[in-house]
Symmetry: C2
Subunit: 524 residues, 2 copies
């Protein structure tokens, strides 16, 4: 399939007449062909109008039809074969195994949501039958279901060109909920975006759905992003990216005549707490495993372990020695974009220049576009005193906060902002301390994990990839796992409807065989 | 119980040193005793600090303990007996039957949430067991539950002195979720608020809970309201009131360093659509029933039918004649406060003076503080052209929009903002038209009801008392019914926890006998 460099607006392929831009080969900084024309305001209008038109039909497609559509997208992505993998490798600098793994994850995600749609629990059907004899007043017949919120704007993420981009988790969950999607492609991987977009576009056609169910817009500036979030037809936003960009979108959404929810996943340094028992037992092993997690994908994960918190002692020294040694053998890796690389270098330089921070280890020096891993340390007092030390350095840099005792560990945790994950490394001897820390961490993070690192995010029913601000803009939800569908639903209640006017999901006899809550009792 | 006029801060009764104010007898405008001292910034600090302290213990109380606490509040409110009813009647001007009914509703609501807590579905327990043999990578053990978001600020509403105030739906659902509550009393019924607040305060003590689970602050100005929403320890807000006040709170919450959700129920004119078949069949009967709904409680309901939409014809004339006649016999009623009364009079006067609006009927003239019901009419074109005609007039005034045909009905609906309810009056002959309108209404409202009026809001599992902005600030939720508990919860995921560190809700063997979703399949 040859790339066209065009916006996908419904079934059309539209050359954008605004500033053209190119994908950049991450390893060399050179332009990739073709150029991508930036979408115009008219393109945006057309995509939103088509999405609104498609919404009424799409949201009432049968669950089976919608599930098959999601599965068809998965198949079409796999059918892109090596062309997708190679373009994606070129645009991101990520190795083949990672891209193939991420493709697998993307496809798994689409199939998971197909299963969620077929299951039907997400509709939360509730029926409170009429009680005409009730005293002092008869009770009406009330039935409830969730409906789709409306067209959703999705923003591709730089660091997951497949799993959090055009056909990523936000798109899959919004489509599963019954929402048409307008994607703003991330300009760091336009070719990857076009290929995946065309796979979805084809699935829309093959599934005989209204064309506006999916559109894809390119823009290397901000106007399409801002215009999408402000458009009155858009009813929710899914975003993964920087804190600055995420909060800018939150402000646009809040200032609309009709404010809408923004699900922005932004900034997280993912504290890893090393408890004394674990350090004494296996400090060196943890140090080595830590460097594996830190350097995975050049550290460009939202769950990268950017912060270590530990109590001084022999075990900690063993950890430091082992981590520093492993770091010394860690190859530099190509980063996603020149901008991300430059930002990483600035962050590392600031830590190196910080008077209260010492450098514990460095990775092997690399080429122009490569990030060199780095580990720093500071004291708990200094960390608590300087909020700058709590800012994310996106890439494979981490800061160890050395504490005098476990009370100081708790004080360090207390000054942290919201996080996606926290990890505790512990032995059985540490359980009493852990019992004190876990409730504290619950209020700071979306996921707590033991004796591991947050960098693997399982696509599952019990996954929370979320957390208090600024980890995300909405702590009530997750952007990974089946629960993500809840972001794009709202409940509607139907009172005293005759059977003839009810949708099948709410009819007596339960023709769609859905889970239902009748008078508050779940029937499954 | 003699009233003290004091803030309830944990178990203390604290005289507020800021500007004192009095409850006002609605019927006479005279001051009621005692004066209520306005809470100071220090009082606010203390209430929030106690709430934060109480949170860690309260959120992990057993479900049975929490359910009993809610039931105890209900019992203590009933134990207040006639003193509560009489003070509430004096402060609101509402008749005894209404206050007794609302007290019953408040108690029912607390008991419903006790049942919701015992059921445990709200925890949304999910378990995805480890799969150590999975290829290419083993799967971790993941478990999820909902936890309480944190201390919640609740604002008493003027129009439901019991069911949407100190121990109303917001308080009941927040306490059920495991959140301490700090209530800002509505200054229109401070005595009622104190009585109910002391019933809760006593229940906290009797239940041996940390005192900060509940506090109640008085303030006749805005500083306590603004300070509460801005306080970093407050993690969510429940509000029922005006659009101006609700959006002001939304802005404060969005501008915090950590933005928090605001559940504001604000403005709704609740369209009632009269379809031709229904009008032809029973136009006069509908007219009479409409006036009953319009004038109930002096029209001071958020679900009051402030808008009628109908197609011209004989049936409509029968409706108008009947409604006008019933209106002519409708007694004026004391309104909640002089401010609400003045605002209602201004709204009615503006409609009377509007060049494109005609007056169809008026209720009987009343005394100084009484609202006189009124019905107006305008054309669809004029209604569409003038957004002012779509603003809520809080009280028993309604506007009939006369349409030429059903296409025009749909265009009128299209210009409406979000609403709590829409009602359709229809006969079987109207079903085809209704099938076109219902999907349109689903996107505008939280509840659609047939052949009735929205003014009865059943406290049930399938109730949605919510809707798109400005009906509420968050269309994904409801403020009435068991689903309201979801507003104060957030999911947390636990990865690779040993049994010894898991809360009971997530342990193998399900010791609390909770509904669980295991590998995505619900076990009940």
């Amino acid at each position: 399939m040859s790339l066209l460099g065009r916006n996908l607006i419904g079934q059309a392929q539209v050359l954008g007449l605004n500033a053209a831009f190119h994908g950049i080969e991450a390893a060399t900084g050179e332009q990739l062909q073709p150029g991508f024309g930036g979408a115009t305001a008219e393109d945006l209008q057309r995509a939103c109008a088509l999405a609104r038109d498609a919404f009424d039909v799409y949201r009432e497609t049968s669950l089976e039809q919608r599930a098959q559509f999601l599965e068809r997208i998965a198949t079409n992505i796999l059918d892109l074969g090596d062309e997708l993998v190679e373009r994606c490798m070129a645009e991101t600098g990520l190795p083949r195994a990672r891209i193939e793994g991420e493709r697998g994850r993307t496809v798994t995600q689409l199939r998971l949501f197909a299963a969620v749609v077929r299951d039907g629990s997400f509709l939360d059907v509730r029926i409170d039958p009429a009680q005409p004899q009730r005293q002092p007043l008869p009770r009406v017949d009330l039935r409830l279901r969730n409906i789709a919120v409306g067209p959703v704007a999705v923003f591709g993420a730089s660091n997951f060109p497949l799993a959090f981009s055009v056909a990523g988790g936000d798109t899959a969950s919004a489509l599963a909920a019954g929402c048409p999607v307008v994607v703003k492609a991330h300009s760091a991987h336009p070719g990857t975006s076009e290929l995946v977009g065309r796979a979805i576009q084809r699935a829309v056609k093959e599934s005989e759905l209204p064309e506006g169910v999916f559109s894809l817009l390119f823009d290397s500036g901000r106007s399409i992003a801002q215009g999408l979030v402000a458009d009155p037809r858009i009813k929710a936003v899914g975003f993964t990216g920087s804190r600055a960009a995420g909060t800018a979108l939150m402000h646009i959404a809040a200032a609309r005549p009709e404010p809408i929810p923004v699900y922005a996943e932004m900034s997280s340094i993912n504290p890893v707490i090393l408890l004394p028992g674990a350090l004494a037992e296996r400090g060196a092993a943890i140090g080595k495993a830590f460097v594996g997690s830190l350097t995975m994908g050049a550290g460009q994960f939202c769950t990268n372990p950017g912060l270590l918190i530990a109590v001084e002692g022999e075990g900690l020294q063993a950890f430091i020695d082992s981590a520093s040694e492993a770091l010394g053998q860690a190859a530099a890796q190509t980063m996603l974009t020149p901008g991300i690389h430059a930002s990483y270098c600035r962050g590392v330089a600031a830590l190196q220049a910080h008077p209260r921070v010492v450098q514990l280890g460095l990775g092997i020096e690399g080429g122009t576009h490569q990030g060199r891993a780095a580990l720093f340390a500071t004291s708990a007092e200094d960390f608590i005193a300087d909020a700058h030390l709590r800012e994310e350095v996106f890439g494979s840099a981490s800061l160890l906060v050395r504490c005098q005792d476990s009370a100081q560990v708790s004080r360090v945790i207390e000054v942290l902002e919201g996080q996606l994950t926290a990890a505790l490394h512990l032995s059985e001897a540490d359980y009493p301390a852990a019992r004190g820390l876990i409730p504290q961490l619950e209020l700071k993070v979306g996921r707590i994990l033991l004796n591991g690192f947050g960098t693997g995010v399982e696509v599952a029913h019990a996954m929370v990839h979320g957390g208090p601000f600024p980890a995300t803009s909405d702590t009530r939800t997750t952007s990974v796992g089946s629960l993500a569908i809840a972001r794009f639903l709202r409940p509607v209640s139907y009172q005293d409807f005759p059977q003839a006017l009810l949708v099948a999901a709410l009819q007596d006899g339960n023709p769609d065989a859905l889970p239902q809550r009748v008078d508050g009792v779940l029937k499954y």
